[in-house]
Amino acid sequence: MTDTTQGGSPLSATQGSYMAMVRQKRLYSGIAILIFVVLLVSGFHTANARNAGGFLDGLPQIFDFPADVVSEAWDKRADMAGLLWRYLPELIETLNIAAVSTLLGAALGLLLSLLSTRGMAPWPPLIPVFRRVMDVSRALPEIVVALVLIYMLGGGPIPAMCAIALHTAGALGKLYSEVNENADLKPVDGLSSVGSTWTQQMLLGVVPQVAPNYLSYGLLRFEVNIRASAILGFVGAGGIGYELRNSMSWGPGRFDEAAAIFLLLFVTIIVVDNISSVVRNRLSEGARP
């Protein structure tokens, strides 16, 4: 009893150390937030200083260009349907680039992921090698590969396709190997006990387990790849991005074309996103027990 009155009781000691811990935690998170804010503010200052036009100077003009485009498109609204129709083949090319590169990249990623998952890899010592291959192909931005290939192979959809497929292989390979790690290996054991080859084990034992997840990640990647394929077109790889750059470089007078392309691209992205999200939801519900 005397202990409590003297303030040396276990309770107040616990409380004291708890409060000290709380203070320390608050101090740490305070410092972390402070550092973050300082980085953010000074970062914006640096970026602003190195930009061609300043943020505050540009802010009032931010809607000038969209307004020009919209007003010009509105003046020529009668031609809009024709323009949309004219750029449809380019849009299909962009979609084709995205679809083929997703297909090829997923196939390559599947192979790489199987080769680099423990328990499934036919050559376990080579697992780190295949992992590094995936890391590097994921790290290479598409634009690097695309520009080099454009120089070597000439313009057109093929350089863009190869570039996106390579990146997709790395990105999907990593996700797929995470899926593989969670797969049940018992079917593989069963198949190997009856003398099946590695290909048969993978196709019959692993792929049915992981197919819904694979498909879902593949669809997500397809959404990303449509955007990538449009951007690569802008640096000269064909498709709708290329047409966008052309109509932009003409300047005023051709902004109705730019508006048509903006519209096509926007609608496509929204539609594909929504379809893929519906399909993915269905897949993940089907996969749930």
Partner: protein, 443 residues
């Protein structure tokens, strides 16, 4: 009994239908893909690729990435001799100074090439290429190019027209035109990567620079060497470092800004925090809209207002990702555990305190992990956006590729970009593990 057989027959039918469907899918799926790829094969004109492909471009690119060439040039009108690496001005040897494989004796210049090959520049606009197996090829300017071969047949590694001679062997290359006679010798590596020829530190080892006597009387060794390396006029290390920093800055500002914008909006888009359907739907449509407009279009629109530069790129990433992050955040918010919020509100907490102590601790690990993932992926996007808006390493890369000259610089930038992305990947992965583990460990 009859009931059992009926169900058995039914089940058998159902099973057979299932098998038929599976068979259809397992045959039909690949067939459709194959059909599509065949269509693409013709739509993309894969057959025409062979005509369009420029194999010589590919060879130049590959050779430049691991080697460089030193040019020994004699101007045929004046007789002036210059020795320069990759014929760049900062890489030109000063007058009267030549590398040890070039020997100058009056007007006669002997250039040693590897594998026993050599070239001799003689007076009166004459040059001899000495091939150890084939023999001497003598070329003279009189007034066109006149050659003299040991055999009457011109070998396929020599291309000759009346005005131009070009000899390409595995040891080097010699060209002669009316204006100049030029010899290329190839060396492994990237030329003058550390110091250019005009720097006093060229040809000094690291140890000499660090611990040796003062090389440049004006400056201390380390400071001077750093100055010359950082401002290397061929490689621009300082500018490249700035460009990398700009790219990372774009990714950081874009991601952090997007997270700050998205967090409050996500509360408005989450079902359990915003009972008003109109507000919720409105915010969600805004998220969909900015995601759909996409970074490419934002970049174009913003660069009209702010001009090219890192700020434009950062804002484009910020706008696009506030949509993506807002959607992810609101999904995370819909999955929070209500009991913790109830617990906090039972102590009499006000709404803001409820969010701070009941909601944020639950979702912080999820949010942080998503933000860090986006940071890593945005480093790549910033490279690409930089190529469009003109900022950062993306711009330097496109410029180097467009000039089609300095492929060793292109490979330097590619290596740096890959290292940058791998570093960001590693750093964000480490932070993610550390922060999330720390959080779960504290509970």
């Amino acid at each position: 009994m009859s009931d059992a057989t009926v169900t058995l027959v039914d089940r058998q039918d159902a099973a057979q239908a299932l098998f038929r469907r599976k068979r259809l899918v397992s045959v039909g799926g690949p067939a459709i893909i194959l059909l599509y790829l065949t269509y693409i094969f013709f739509a993309f004109d894969v057959m025409g690729l062979a005509d369009r492909a420029r194999l010589d471009n590919a060879m130049t690119l590959i050779r430049d990435t691991y080697s460089y060439k030193t040019h020994v040039t004699r101007a045929n009108r004046t007789g002036d001799l210059t020795v320069a690496k990759e014929s760049e001005r900062p890489a030109t040897y000063p007058e009267g100074q030549t590398p040890d494989w070039v020997e100058v004796a009056g007007e006669t210049v002997t250039i040693d090439l590897p594998k026993g090959h050599s070239v001799v520049f003689l007076p009166e606009k004459t040059a001899i290429y000495r091939h150890p197996e084939f023999g001497d090829i003598t070329a003279k300017l009189d007034p066109g190019v006149v050659i003299d071969l040991p055999e009457s047949q011109i070998p396929d590694w020599v291309s000759y027209s009346g005005t131009r001679l070009d000899i390409r062997t595995e040891a080097g290359r010699m060209t002669m035109t009316r204006s100049k006679t030029e010899v290329f010798r190839y060396f492994l590596g990237w030329e003058l990567f550390w110091f250019t020829l005009d720097s006093p530190y060229h040809n000094h080892s690291v140890l000499e620079v660090l611990f040796g006597p003062q090389i440049d009387p004006e400056r201390p060794n380390i400071a001077g060497a750093w100055q010359d390396f950082w401002g290397n006029p061929l490689w621009h290390h300082g500018k490249v470092a700035w460009a990398i920093a700009e790219t990372v800055l774009m990714a950081f500002l874009g991601t952090a800004g997007a997270a700050l914008v998205a967090l409050p909006l996500a509360f408005l888009a989450a079902r359990n925090f915003t009972p008003f359907v109109v507000v919720r739907q409105l915010v969600r449509r805004v998220f969909d809209f900015v995601r759909g407009v996409d970074a490419l279009i934002f970049t174009i629109l913003l660069s009209r207002a702010f001009g090219p530069g890192p700020l434009t790129g950062a804002l484009a990433i910020l706008l696009t990702d506030s949509g993506s992050l807002g959607k992810l955040f609101s999904e995370a918010l819909e999955n929070v555990d209500e009991r913790q919020i109830e617990g906090v509100s039972s102590t009499g907490a006000k709404p803001l305190q409820r969010y701070r102590f009941g909601v944020l601790p639950q979702i912080t690990p999820v949010l942080l992990s998503q933000v860090l993932y986006y940071l890593e992926s945005n480093t790549r996007s910033a490279t690409i956006i930089g190529a469009i808006t003109g900022g950062g390493i993306g711009l330097m890369l496109t410029q180097a590729i467009i000039t089609q000259k300095d492929w060793e610089e292109v490979s330097y930038y590619i290596v740096l970009i890959v290292l940058m992305v791998i570093f960001m990947d590693w750093a964000s992965g480490m932070l993610r593990r550390r922060l999330i583990k720390g959080k779960t460990g504290a509970y």
